[in-house]
């Protein structure tokens, strides 16, 4: 019955109201579900590390070749297997750290050299260990902040300098404490929003200017009545100068996708993610192409993976 209702609904808004954007199935492995994995992109290769499959915390690492649409298994992550870790890239090197191993929040970090396929432990966080934080690499530095430390949600930010292998605190983020927030990067700017704290979904939205290392508040994620962007455990990515927030959790798991236009600080809804609604998926983007997949819905762990074409008409058959 609910299927029939869904079907009727999807037919009724078929005409001019159709959101733009198409999702195309990409190469996947049946039977490799994982949620809360970490990802980073180096050139046209997307890396997935760690995660949880419903039974085990994972330490395997896979590389996805965007041009060839195939996978390679890389060197295992050398730290303890975990999920809810962060992943980011600085100048062609991947970084993964923090997270949760089923017992404790973690603060150790590792770098990945794609040229030699080797992992090296780097300086651990000099602050409380945590999971479900955000991190991004830009302008030669790594930035890490927010998250949950096992007792409290956090709002502090830390900066990693690869040249000295050290962390230092970065003051100035004016947003509230939160976990499971999302970022995306457009040019020199990193946008941060969504996330949850004490059961409330945050609606503030921020931009970090990497050249001045300063945060500025943007319009709230519920600024317009028809916005439904607030959520947690979503993914953010960038395609051709636009930012995207997709999937996640808001009372239940979500499929909706919103596109951010930095030129006028506005959001537009796109075609929903084609697969099952999900939280804690992963996304790769190399600024011109983006891929979203994996994650979970309730206790069902997912293994599918799609490429998103934001300006194409939706076609359910690809």
């Amino acid at each position: 019955m609910s299927l029939t209702v869904l079907f009727l609904t999807s037919c009724s808004n078929d005409d001019e109201d159709e959101d733009l954007g198409n999702w195309v199935d990409r190469s996947v492995f049946d039977g490799s579900p994982r949620s809360g994995a970490s990802s980073f992109t180096i050139g046209n290769t997307g890396y997935i590390a760690l995660g949880y499959d419903g039974d085990d915390y994972l330490n395997s690492v896979w590389a996805y070749d965007m041009d060839g649409d195939f996978w390679s298994q890389k060197a295992d992550f050398p730290g303890v297997a975990r999920n809810a870790a962060v992943g980011f890239e600085i100048d062609g090197t991947g970084y993964v750290g923090s997270g949760y191993d089923g017992l404790d929040e973690l603060g150790d970090f590792y770098s990945y050299n794609p040229g030699t396929n080797t992992w090296t432990e780097i300086a651990s966080l000099s602050t409380t260990t945590r999971r479900s934080a955000v991190a991004f690499g830009i302008n030669g530095f790594g930035y890490f902040g927010t998250g949950y430390d096992g007792e409290n949600d956090r709002k502090d930010f830390w900066k990693y300098d690869p040249s000295t292998d050290s962390w230092s605190e970065l003051v100035g983020f004016g947003g509230d404490k939160r976990r499971a927030a999302t970022t995306f990067t457009i040019g020199n700017s990193v946008y941060l929003g969504t996330g949850v704290s004490n059961g409330s979904y945050l609606d503030d939205f921020w931009v970090f200017d990497s050249t001045t290392e300063s945060w500025t508040s943007k319009l709230d994620l519920d600024e317009e009545d028809d916005y439904s962007i607030t959520r947690s455990n979503a993914v953010g990515f960038t395609i051709s100068g636009y930012g995207y927030i997709a999937c996640g959790e808001f009372g239940g798991t979500a499929t909706s996708v919103w596109q951010y236009d930095p030129s006028d600080d506005t959001w537009e809804e796109k075609t929903n993610f084609e697969g099952t609604s999900r939280q804690d998926p992963i996304a790769f983007s190399n600024s011109s192409r983006a891929f979203v997949g994996l994650g979970r819905t309730g206790s069902l762990y997912l293994d599918d993976f799609d490429e998103f074409f934001p300006f194409e008409e939706y076609d359910e058959d690809d």
Partner: protein
């Protein structure tokens, strides 16, 4: 009573047909995984194909630190077969270090 036995027979017959016609009602494309051993720089690797489509390209030994190719074609074939078998069973195709040890795969020292 007679219509009852006729129905049973008919059902049995349909069942037999379904059994005899392979692939009917099953998703056939997923089970067709092929392993191809390739020569790479300094050793061997493998490719896993699902039908015609390349799924995994492994120039180096999975899970192991460093870009280390397999020392022999036989080693590459063994791990490739393991991965294809996992995919056929709809299991994760991840290769664990333990499996590499258990299959006595030679790890090049460098």
């Amino acid at each position: 009573m007679k219509w009852f036995s006729v129905t049973i027979l008919l059902l049995l017959f349909i069942g037999l047909l379904l059994y005899l016609i392979p692939g009917l009602g099953t998703k056939e494309e997923k089970s067709d995984f092929k392993v191809q051993v390739v020569t790479t720089q300094g050793g061997f690797g493998y490719r896993i194909f699902n039908g015609e489509k390349i799924l995994i390209k492994q120039d180096f030994i999975p899970a192991v630190q460093g870009d280390k190719p397999f020392a022999t074609a036989k080693d590459a074939q063994l791990i490739g077969n393991l991965v294809a078998q996992k995919l056929s069973n709809s299991e994760s195709p991840v290769v664990h270090l333990k499996e590499i040890e258990n299959l006595n795969i030679t790890l090049p020292v460098n």
